[in-house]
Symmetry: C2
Subunit: 214 residues, 2 copies
Amino acid sequence: MSSLPPSRLRARKAVLPSSAVPDGTRRRILEAALQLFASRGFHGASIRDLATALELRPSALYAHFPSKEHVLAELVRMGHEAHHEGLRAALLGAGSEPTEQLRALVRAHTLLHANHPQLAVVVNEEIHVLPPELAAPALALREQSSALLLAVIERGRAQGVFSVPHAVVTAAAISTMGLRLPYWYEPTPALDVDTLAELHVELALRLLGVQGRP
Amino acid sequence: MSSLPPSRLRARKAVLPSSAVPDGTRRRILEAALQLFASRGFHGASIRDLATALELRPSALYAHFPSKEHVLAELVRMGHEAHHEGLRAALLGAGSEPTEQLRALVRAHTLLHANHPQLAVVVNEEIHVLPPELAAPALALREQSSALLLAVIERGRAQGVFSVPHAVVTAAAISTMGLRLPYWYEPTPALDVDTLAELHVELALRLLGVQGRP
DNA sequence: CCTTGCGAAACGAACGTTCGTTCAGATAAC
DNA sequence: GTTATCTGAACGAACGTTCGTTTCGCAAGG
């Protein structure tokens, strides 16, 4: 009934979504840490593991980050920022109709999680190890992103285009389709990311009780 | 767009699903470990933390388990066993119609995850730290459970009662509704576990394109 | 053209702490 | 008096982190 994890993303190379981080050692550290934290967890990956992956000595890392926790905090921050920005942009590009807005949201949400599975895993599983002051900004963004979807659903319901028995549970179901992607999905020619995104759009509309579909 | 974690299940007391474990220190260890592993992760919770929670000295644990890893392995094994047994029993209790079988599967799946959130989290997040020989039996059970759902969907599709654009993606969506529950759901009078299970049944049927519903 | 000086980056070694685990002996129950 | 359980002390290993030193690219000065 559940979906099987390939081997927790050990294989694929980690890619940062944001181009805001300039090339250089700092970026290399973030990418290697992303890969390690995603595959072994924050506590399961040591500073020495990270240094080895980078062909550096452990002490060299401290010229770029004040602590191991701050590396994670930066990844978590970037992940939430990219996610929220992606959703916001998608919503802006859609029209005013709830159905189109929902299509845009689900498409963006799915593409982000399918294209950056490691970041999704780290953001969602390891944010708990951060002290509250480092986690707070990310949690605030998360709340905002969640509200975006719920607002679209409520508006569609008010207009009579959506019919849902329970908005919050339905929103959770839609959001979850994307969130769990890193644990089972791998792009193949038979099921590429764009096809997957359209499938999720279709499924989300079904959950919202939208009848006529192209 | 995502759902916010309360504080990773720190609050609630952990409950083992299986009555197969007799009362006694061994059971107390498993329950305390379940709570700790769920809230801090396997690597984030030390043997000393576990011993403190049990008001024991660390060395006392080794009279009951050969290693920390074996405690986790036992939890993972129990979790997968309870899950698979729950699904199997649900299917047996349902008739031969795919719709009824699906109702039963989703209901059981949701109830298990809603009633045992800590076990769900540990089983799904920490299985990766186990060496392959300890994880293999659980992974085999997981594959079987996953196949149960897919088989029902395929049968329903063959009979014309379900209409899905992509069986695997749809199965993943259904399964995922339950899997993510521990991260956002908490039972309240307004939304108790049985109501939630019925909502998930309704949503799953929508995903499968079932039209007429009571 | 060569030398000098400088700042950033990485090294090498070590720190104090915590980790999982072991084991001989005390304790309690039947 | 045997058996099951727990204690107290200790083990080596691994942890995150610090710090003084070394390396290196490059611009300025003679």
